[in-house]
Symmetry: C2
Subunit: 465 residues, 2 copies
């Protein structure tokens, strides 16, 4: 298994298959089966998301998947952005439908006709809702599990506000939610403001969260959009002022997808397999008993299992007869369980356990009670290591470029000064195969554009998925 991850693309496909995250042999291209282990991980990510957005007074809803052609055609820029990616339902039973319906590629066109009904006065604002659903995009490019697919597990938050300033505050709140969530997932990211020609169709501006994959390419794992009144004026979403006149609402959205799981697999995994951040690990602790004829390892292990369950950890005991302890260690390491305890005769006799963390080389032998008292801190060690490693990798993958030649043919994240013009961006893209991810939101540095020499700011260019 040495250095398997160096061939990232092959490693990625293999680990998804053997760890039981997803099965891509389903007969429809780009639509995969969520296997139990993968679905659990995604559900834990969803539940963390719910926790953070609920705390900010968002409410969960669920809209229909079908959108009529009429609903869609309301906002022209938006439709244009998605028209090549829509799946169309044209028949019900053997009848041709009176009006074709599209499967949602995102839910603006589904939600905003209802917003127009729901929002009446200032008292209805801000309106903050979200849903966790599948969206559908007829991808013609090469598909890849969790990264580019046609049925996408999707989180989308939508808000409406009385003023543009309130909507701007919402954008700041998204940044806080995003920070909290990615801290739990141990994922580093850059915040980049997409150039106008690559913003979300219909948005005033788009901030994207980009992370770095082991291949050196960037992966967009979340976006937040300021719509201003672009949608509200087309969907007629207004609230009444005291004088009886009506004002358009300002809107924002926040979207992310199963790409979060793709990033977790790719960035944290190693040659041995997956490594799950403890907060979303489907199994946080695996117990491997080493059978003995002298003492009752099973009873001792079972008691520990029960204790850990009572403490609300997600714990499993691997008591399969057909496999050796060594096989089991490898199996659960491959599946990314953050903490393993081994229990043999010596542990039973001395009331101890042997603890192994998925991110650390050394095993630890400790008193059982000491272990119980320290589980949270042990899991924090895993989290800390994952975070440090991934920040470190991102740094290593980032190059501060002073001219185009430096980054030709590279698969790296290029930080460079750019004037913001489409012309200069195209020149960089053509010569490097990188794409412009836009101005970097985290940096206030100023410098001369590496193409034209005019005043510019820090921008990010990279090859992308």
């Amino acid at each position: 298994m040495e250095n398997k991850k160096d061939n990232f693309s092959e490693w990625y496909n293999e680990i998804i298959e053997i760890s039981g995250l997803s099965d891509k042999r389903y007969p429809v291209k780009g639509m995969n089966v969520w296997m139990p282990y993968g679905l659990k991980a995604m559900q834990f990510i969803d539940n963390l998301t719910r926790k953070y957005v609920d705390a900010m007074d968002f409410q969960e809803v669920s809209f229909p998947v079908l959108i009529t052609r009429g609903q869609l055609m309301v906002e022209f820029e938006h439709v244009k952005g998605f028209e090549n990616e829509l799946f169309w339902i044209t028949k019900g039973g053997s009848e041709k439908l009176e009006e074709d319906m599209a499967m949602r590629p995102t839910s603006e066109a589904a939600m905003y006709p209802m917003f127009a009904l729901w929002i009446r006065s200032h008292a209805d604002l801000p309106m903050k809702i979200y849903q966790i659903v599948n969206v559908y995009r007829y991808e013609t490019k090469h598909t890849r599990s969790f990264i580019r697919i046609r049925e996408i597990h999707f989180f989308e938050a939508h808000t409406a506000h009385a003023t543009y300033e309130d909507a701007e505050k919402q954008m700041d709140e998204y940044l806080i939610i995003w920070k909290k969530l990615t801290e739990m997932l141990c994922l580093p990211y850059l915040v980049n403001q997409r150039p106008d020609w690559d913003k979300f169709p219909g948005a005033k501006y788009t901030l994207a969260f980009d992370t770095v994959m082991p291949s050196g390419r960037a992966l967009q794992i979340g976006t937040i959009h300021q719509y201003g009144t672009n949608f509200s004026k087309n969907y007629n979403i207004t609230y009444a002022l005291e004088d009886g006149s009506h004002e358009l609402v300002s809107q924002t959205t926040f979207g992310m997808s199963e790409r979060l799981l793709a990033a977790i697999i790719s960035i944290h995994g190693d040659d041995t397999g997956l490594i799950f951040p403890p907060d979303i690990a489907p199994v946080q602790i695996i117990i491997v008993p080493i059978p003995s004829r002298k003492v009752d390892v099973e009873a001792y292990s079972y008691k520990i299992l029960e204790n850990l369950r009572e403490m609300d950890f997600r714990v499993k005991m691997d008591d399969r007869d057909a496999y050796t302890p060594g096989y089991k260690y490898n199996d659960w390491e491959m599946r990314g369980v953050p903490l393993r305890i081994e229990i043999g005769a010596r542990e039973v006799e001395k009331s101890r356990v042997t603890v192994s963390l998925r991110t650390e080389k050394e095993k630890m032998n400790m008193e059982k009670d000491e272990f119980f008292a320290n589980i949270h801190s042990l899991l924090s060690t895993v989290k800390k290591t994952l975070t440090e490693r991934s920040i470190d990798t991102m740094k290593k993958m980032t190059i501060n470029a002073e001219n185009i030649d430096e980054i030709k043919g590279l698969e790296r994240i290029a930080k460079l000064f750019w004037c913001g013009s489409e012309e200069c961006s195209r020149k960089i893209e053509e010569q490097t195969e990188m794409s412009c991810l836009g101005m970097n939101h985290d940096s206030k540095d100023k410098g001369k554009c590496i193409v034209c020499g005019k005043d510019g700011f820090t921008a990010i260019f990279a090859r992308t998925y």
Copy 2:
């Protein structure tokens, strides 16, 4: 509001709207928006379901929503049963698809090609999986929220076994799961074996769980199906025996939907509004403070709120300034909160609370600590009352009929002896507008068919939704 529920259909539509469960103004017929309160209730039902099936070693998966025409055409009876109800995707972007795809009406045709890949040997059996997803049916009949719609929130369990006997044991296990779940939902039901001409398309036999709505009509709220090898022989799902030969698996399924929520709304609700069983109530306890100038009602109420949260109850405090306590009582009664506490100056001064249960007329005034110690038992009272009432209603709605004349024009559940022949069933159906729900699984009584006088068993006939 007196006797509003007597006009059940109107009451049902109104309560769904004003309590904020669902909005049916979405532009696609039969596809409604799940509003926050309704979605929460459904998610609690889902989580109870997960708890009971997980305990029986089921694993959750999620399959794609689209099924190719080729996948569907494998099992003829099954396709025939659904062909008039399929939504067809024929276009992606502006291209015509090479092969049309249907939105799943149920997932046999989606899952079983994968079962054929997954199941290899005895070690893979039993395979027990489930998913909670939306399914799609192009209903041409009148649609009704949660009862007959085109996008259906659906639970489906699918199993595969080495032998028919094992599959029969699975059917028994479903009955246990069903009993546990419906006990939490306080829903009474009959188990009826659907006649052959009304069983699930492709099944060997179907057991249905039917409950009784306030209108006197039956509502099917769950079904379990024994497939035997009907599907496995078409989808080629086999396991290898030791001698190298291959054996077909026997299969079963268990399905239920948001009709569970429809039944809860309809059966438990009263003229005042909804009544949620405590285990799935989005809000279990509502605190209504009655402002006072003498003492700090707010601080006292807030402390109770905190205590209840720590005890893991779903609790809310209604501190809206714009409404009177009386208005709030009505509002939360309408929304079906099982337990209310009122806190005014007298309660604060004496460290007490006034408790009101949604199902009982008398208010109770008790010491704060006594209240904390008794919450579970108070909620159990609500559960007990709901259960008793609904069993009582089912009994009242049931008529033991000795001849057809007795049940002509009735909207009741008719229990009668039937020989099992399609001919006699048709005669009853034609003269009564009732449908044959099949032989009652709970009764072993024998008697003479009320039509032909031949030997028969207890059967159920009723008008249905």
